[in-house]
Structure formats: structure tokens, C-alpha cells
């Protein structure tokens, strides 16, 4: 599926970013091409989540230097909603509860704003209901969740499924899934993972941000990156994740120390 002629979707160069005046990312480089699945692993606080928020354009995060290009175009000046419309999707680690706002209405407005960008017709209430009912099957979600407020009172697993449902509706070009596996039991993990697998397209790409490698048993990544201290310090294939699982993050310390020594 991957070939050297594949188009580059996302290209991040020497990205430095901060939150609350504290620099978290110290020069991240990453290139993601069509059809690829990348996994980014690392300890808590290594900067994984920050990277995902920066790509999606969270206003609390400031880009200090470097660039993020989406299909060759700089996106740093784009508002979060503009990034979403061109096909950048962030699956939240902690999806926000929004009491009072109907989930169905929210999904419809979001879907239509993406469709508008794709020059597709907007869906009316009935058409949208047909679409959403079909996509619900991918995440094996009860239609009852549509009637509720956005994520309000959802269990951890339900929230994550709602995220994947949004991904299914928005049909993004690149999906960045931030710890989508955390807090899921085995069944929920399988459902979520199979949803992600079913949704991946030859012309789209996925970045899985994860702490554990168990998600990677369900979804096979083409690349595994390890982040530490705001940088990608090691890139490899699936084997790297398995090594990591075996020896824990400690082995990283060794390698980094070795590196420092060699320096």
C-alpha cells in the first residue's frame, strides 16, 4: 500500500511549542504519507498529547518555531475548525462533556461543515439520520446515545466510541487518535480498533498516540516513534513497540544515556 510515490499528508519540521509559557515540544520532526499508520509512544509528559493538540490548533498551545504542513500547505494560521474541515481529525484523550447540546445536532452540524468543504450537499435531518445510523454500526453504538447531550454521562468507553463515530462521519484525511485505548476494557478496545481499521483508506493516514502497545496488537503500525522530553528520539517498526513492551521505558533511559555519553 505504501509506495515511495505516495503523497505526503503531514509534514512536521523542527516544531517547538509551549503551553502556559513552558516549552513542551523541543523540535519534533515527522512525515506522514498516504496509507500509513504511525504510532507515537512515550511516557506521560513526554509531549505526545501536546503534539496532537498543536496539530489540531488548540488555542492554549503556542507554536514557537518550526512548521506543520498539511498536503504541502502551512496550517499554523488556520483556526481549529478550518483544520477540521480540510480533514484533520483529533480523537480526544478526554472527550469533553457538553451538557444541553444534543449529540445528534452536534454530529450533524459537524458533518455538514466538513461536507461543505468537500463540496458535497448538506444533509437534512432525515438524510443525516440515515447516515448516522449506518455509521453507528461501525462502533456498535446504541442509537440512544444520539438523543443525549454530547458525551454527558457517557462512560469512558462510550466516549471513545463517540469519538470514532465522529471520525466515521467526518471522513478525515488524517486522524490523530490521542490515547484512544486508555480506559477501555478488552471488548471496547476491540470495537474501537476494528472501527479504526475499517475506516482507514488508501488515501488517508492515522497517527495513534498510545502509552501501551496492546492497541498495536489490533492495529498494525507501519512506523513506531518514541517520544521523550518533547522530541521523537527513536523511530522503528512494529518490533520497537514489542521491545518497549518487554523492557519497559527504562531501556530508553539507557539508550538516551548512551547517546549522551557518545556525545
Amino acid at each position: 500500500m505504501i509506495s515511495s510515490t505516495s503523497e505526503i499528508i503531514l509534514s512536521i519540521e523542527d516544531l517547538h511549542a509551549s503551553v502556559e509559557d513552558q516549552e513542551i515540544l523541543h523540535g519534533v520532526n515527522l512525515i506522514v504519507k498516504e496509507g500509513e499508520i504511525h504510532a507515537i509512544m512515550g511516557r506521560n509528559g513526554s509531549g505526545k498529547s501536546t503534539l496532537s493538540k498543536v496539530i489540531a490548533g488548540h488555542p492554549s498551545y503556542k507554536v514557537l518555531s518550526g512548521s506543520i504542513q498539511f498536503k504541502g500547505k502551512d496550517i499554523l494560521e488556520l483556526e481549529p475548525e478550518e483544520r477540521a474541515r480540510i480533514g484533520i481529525f483529533l480523537g480526544f484523550q478526554y472527550p469533553v462533556e457538553i451538557p444541553g447540546v444534543s449529540n445528534l445536532e452536534f454530529l450533524r452540524v459537524a458533518t455538514n461543515s466538513r461536507r461543505k468543504e468537500l463540496l458535497k450537499s448538506e444533509l437534512d435531518t432525515f438524510e443525516f439520520e440515515d447516515l448516522v445510523n449506518e455509521r453507528l454500526k461501525i462502533v456498535e453504538m446504541d442509537p440512544g446515545f444520539l438523543e443525549r447531550s454530547v458525551n454527558e454521562g457517557f462512560s469512558g468507553g462510550e466516549k471513545k466510541r463517540n469519538e470514532i463515530l465522529q471520525m466515521a462521519l467526518l471522513e478525515p484525511v488524517i486522524s490523530i487518535l490521542d490515547e484512544t485505548d486508555s480506559g477501555l476494557d478488552i471488548d471496547a478496545l476491540r470495537i474501537v480498533a476494528s472501527g479504526i481499521n475499517r475506516l482507514s483508506q488508501p488515501n488517508s493516514a492515522t497517527i495513534l498516540i498510545t502509552h501501551y502497545q496492546r492497541l498495536l496488537n489490533e492495529i498494525t503500525p507501519d512506523f513506531v516513534h518514541i517520544m521523550a522530553d518533547g522530541k521523537i528520539i527513536k523511530t522503528g517498526n512494529r518490533e520497537l513497540a514489542i521491545d518497549l513492551e518487554k523492557s519497559g521505558y527504562d531501556f530508553l533511559d539507557k539508550t538516551t544515556k548512551e547517546k549522551e555519553v557518545t556525545k
Binding site: 489540531a56 481549529p80 457538553i98 461543515s113
Partner: protein
């Protein structure tokens, strides 16, 4: 905080109903005295008892002081500089809509309230009040078939004097407060509703109030009586042109619900709020009260308050009948220099009475938005319960949100629960919506609507969307 600034911009929307209708108006000279009251009464051909009612109220009013206890400061009203009666010049006894000045019909059509046979709203009967008089009431005949009386209060005074004499001033006594006394003395028009025993009113009833003259005080009076086992849903809407002076609006609304009767009273208030610097706008000093006189009766107030320079309003329920129910659902949105002091009083007198209060205040700009409410459980109100929830949302760091709940209980076999919270539009929620491609304005609007959804759910179907639109209108950016 650029984010907040933009949210503020979104909330600041120009007033869309600020136009003035050019129409010849009959006004009486400015000022208030006994002769003016006699003149108003004479113009309306009122029976003797009503003139006496007015004069008694005037006498009381002279003895009363303007209240100053609420969290409001405003330039004092000069009561001698107001016109107490203004009416578009036309034949008062109009038989059909064809005889109503087309300019007036146009005015209401522009406001989204078409009155003509072809265009009028289906399943909603409308009483349109322009300045001091009611100019038309739709669906009268259809309602009459069910025995429902829906007409202007002036008409009711002449045609159903017994009902007026029996009920007017019994819920809000003439000396209840300064503005109620003033209203009782000079009220011009308003709506009257009577639902006979056992009748479920077949359609929504609605009054639409329009202030057109700048120097005229608007003093309308509404009386709704729901006989045993009857029910009605009523909605009032209000707008006014933009003047740079303040116009006084001091209405009185009285509701009476007898055994098993139920009244739902909804208000969408969008009087002119004044400009950004706080010049002009309506002073909205209103007394609204409902009495659940009968067993198992129910009165439910819902209000969406977006207009007026100053609002001072506490729609209340006196829960006299055993097992009666009172409800109050409110959304108050203030911006710029608006001040709103609003809430409710739930007076539990009968046994097993229940009340529920849900109040949502949104304050932006330098506005002041206060919830003030009283829950009182009397010594005989065994088994009574109240639940109150007051939430405030602040937009920008100059707006203020205050909560003053007075809670009082003299009955141990009762339960009162009050909860209040304050928040702002959460950055995380905003980002979440935006990251799904929903633009900023729509996201803000969605969050504000979501914040208010508990109250929207209580509005009559036909008007929930109107109210939502009204909020969205105030929240919409330059797009529209």
C-alpha cells in the same frame, strides 16, 4: 484573552425591531393627576367600579415610594413627564381586520406576527397591542365555540364586567408595590383570557406588545382565569423602537387557577435595550403573579428575557390549593449596559405544594444580571417541596452575575433544595466543537443554547424555536 473578546463581539448584535411606525397618534397631554385618570377611564367607556378602582390605586400610589432595594440604579423617572394614553387614530370599534390601518398590520408583519386571515399563524391566536390599545385579536370566533374568551382587557371590562370585578386586583392588590399601584391607576390595555370549566384551550394564545411612541408609558394589564379542570398556554412577546430616552413599561399580570386547572405563561421579552453606552431603552418594571387557588392546580412561568435597559421582574406563584404546583423557568441574557434583576417568589401555603425554579443568566459586556428569588414555606404547607437551580454564565470580565436566593421555612415536613453555579464558556468545550469543523460563532451559540436547554424544553413548541432564534440572533455575528 482574544477569545473572550470575540465571544463578546458575537453577543453584541444590533436590535432588529428598532423601527418606528409613522402613524397619526392620539395622545393625551403629559402628566398624571386625577383628571388624567378620569379621562383615560372615560375614553375607554369604563363602568363606575373600574374608575373607582383606578382612583383608589392612584391614592395609594401617591403615598408610596419608588423602591430602591434591588440591585439596580437608574436615572429617576419623571412621572409628570410621561404620556399615559396614546392610541393610533382609528375607529375604536373595528369589526374586522379590514378596518385596521394597514400600517399597523404591516408593523406586526414586520415583527413576524402576521395578523391577516391569509398569513396569520395557524393554531396560535394573537392579541396585538400597539402602544396603549389592542388593535386586533385573531381566532376569536373559533375560541368562542369552546367558550374561551380571549380579547383585549378594555373589551372585557365592557363585556364581562362581572368577571373583571370579581378577579381584577385580587392577585396583585392595588397597593402591592409602587409600579403595580401606578399600573392599577392608569393601565391602558392588555389581554383578558377566560377558560371555562373543563375546557382545554384548543390553541396557543398570544399577546404581542409593541411600544411605538417614545414618551409614552406602557401600562398594560393582563388577567387570565382558568376555571376548574381547564388548561391554557399563553405567550407574550414585546418589542419597541429605538429611542434615546427611556420608556417606562410597568405591566401587571394576574393569573388565577382553580381546582385542577393549569396555566402556562411564557414570555419572550425583547424590548429595546438601549445602545452600547446604555443610552435609551425600556425600563421594564413588571409585576406578575399567579395564584393556584384550587387543589392540584398548576401555574408555570417561562421567560426568555433579552431586551430592556432595566428589567425588574419576579413572576411569582402563590400555592394556596393543596397539591398545587408552581414552576419558573427563566433565561435572562444581558449585554452592554443592561441590568436585569429577575427571579421568582414561590409562596407555599397549601399542603403538599411543589415548586421548581430553573434560572439561567448570561451576562456579557458591562451588564448586571441578578437572580433574586424567594422560596417561602408556611407553617401549614406540610409535605411541600422546592427545588431551585440558578446557573450563571459570564462572558467577559466586566459583566456581573449575582444570586440572591431568599429561603424561608416554617414547616419541618418540607424540603427545600437550592443550587447555584457560575461558569463561563469553557475553552475546552469550544475547542472540541471547533475541532469538529464547527465555526466559532456557531460553537458559542451552541454552547449558550446548551446552557439554556433546560429552559427551552419548557417553552411551548411553537415558541421554543423562536426563542432559540432570538438568542442566536443576539449571539450571531455579522453573518446574518
Amino acid at each position: 484573552m482574544t477569545q473572550t473578546n470575540t465571544v463578546e463581539e458575537i453577543v453584541s448584535q444590533p436590535y432588529k425591531y428598532g423601527f418606528i411606525t409613522e402613524i397619526e397618534t392620539e395622545k393625551i397631554p403629559k402628566g398624571l393627576n386625577e383628571d388624567v385618570i378620569r379621562l383615560i377611564s372615560a375614553k375607554k367607556n369604563e363602568p363606575e367600579f373600574l374608575l373607582k378602582f383606578r382612583l383608589r390605586a392612584y391614592e395609594q400610589w401617591l403615598k408610596m415610594k419608588e423602591p430602591n432595594w434591588s440591585n439596580l440604579t437608574y436615572s429617576k423617572v419623571d412621572y409628570q413627564d410621561l404620556v399615559y394614553y396614546a392610541a393610533p387614530k382609528q375607529d375604536i370599534k373595528k369589526k374586522s381586520l379590514d378596518e385596521v390601518d394597514p400600517k399597523l398590520l404591516d408593523t406586526f408583519e414586520k415583527l413576524g406576527i402576521p395578523l391577516s386571515e391569509q398569513k396569520r399563524l395557524s393554531n396560535v391566536a394573537v392579541d396585538a397591542v400597539f402602544d396603549s390599545v389592542s388593535i386586533a385579536t385573531t381566532y376569536k370566533e373559533k375560541l368562542a365555540e369552546h367558550g374561551v374568551i380571549f380579547c383585549s382587557i378594555s373589551e372585557a371590562i365592557n363585556e364581562y364586567p362581572d368577571l373583571i370585578e370579581k378577579y381584577m386586583g385580587t392577585v396583585v392588590p392595588i397597593n402591592d408595590n409602587f409600579f403595580a399601584a401606578l399600573n392599577s391607576a392608569v393601565f391602558s390595555d392588555g389581554s383578558f383570557v377566560y377558560i371555562p370549566k373543563g375546557v382545554e384551550c384548543p390553541m396557543e394564545l398570544s399577546s404581542y406588545f409593541r411600544i411605538n411612541s417614545g414618551d409614552t408609558g406602557q401600562f398594560e394589564r393582563t388577567l387570565i382565569i382558568a376555571e376548574e379542570s381547564s388548561s391554557v398556554s399563553y405567550l407574550e412577546g414585546c418589542t419597541a423602537p429605538m429611542f434615546d430616552t427611556n420608556t417606562l413599561h410597568a405591566a401587571v399580570v394576574e393569573l388565577v387557577a382553580l381546582d385542577n386547572a393549569s396555566i402556562k405563561y411564557s414570555t419572550v421579552q425583547n424590548w429595546y435595550a438601549g445602545n452600547e453606552e446604555g443610552v435609551g431603552g425600556i425600563y421594564n418594571f413588571v409585576t406578575k403573579r399567579g395564584e393556584c387557588r384550587g387543589k392540584k392546580s398548576k401555574i408555570s412561568w417561562s421567560q426568555v428575557e433579552t431586551g430592556s435597559a432595566i428589567t425588574w421582574k419576579y413572576p411569582s406563584c402563590v400555592l394556596q390549593g393543596d397539591n398545587s404546583i408552581g414552576e419558573f423557568y427563566s433565561i435572562a441574557l444581558t449585554n452592554n449596559c443592561q441590568k436585569a434583576d429577575t427571579g421568582t417568589k414561590m409562596i407555599h401555603i397549601g399542603k403538599n405544594t411543589k415548586s421548581k425554579i430553573v434560572s439561567k443568566g448570561i451576562s456579557a459586556g458591562q451588564s448586571k444580571n441578578s437572580y433574586r428569588g424567594l422560596v417561602s414555606i408556611g407553617p401549614n404547607a406540610e409535605g411541600s417541596r422546592n427545588y431551585s437551580q440558578c446557573d450563571s454564565m459570564l462572558i467577559g470580565d466586566k459583566a456581573s452575575a449575582n444570586t440572591y436566593p431568599y429561603i424561608q421555612s416554617k414547616q419541618p415536613q418540607s424540603n427545600i433544595e437550592h443550587e447555584a453555579s457560575t461558569c463561563r464558556i469553557s475553552e475546552d468545550q469550544l475547542f472540541y466543537l471547533q475541532s469538529r469543523g464547527i465555526d466559532f460563532e456557531e460553537s458559542v451559540s451552541m454552547l449558550v443554547s446548551g446552557f439554556c436547554s433546560d429552559v427551552f424544553n419548557e417553552l411551548p413548541m411553537e415558541f421554543a424555536s423562536e426563542a432559540d432564534k432570538l438568542l442566536a440572533l443576539k449571539l450571531e455575528g455579522s453573518v446574518g
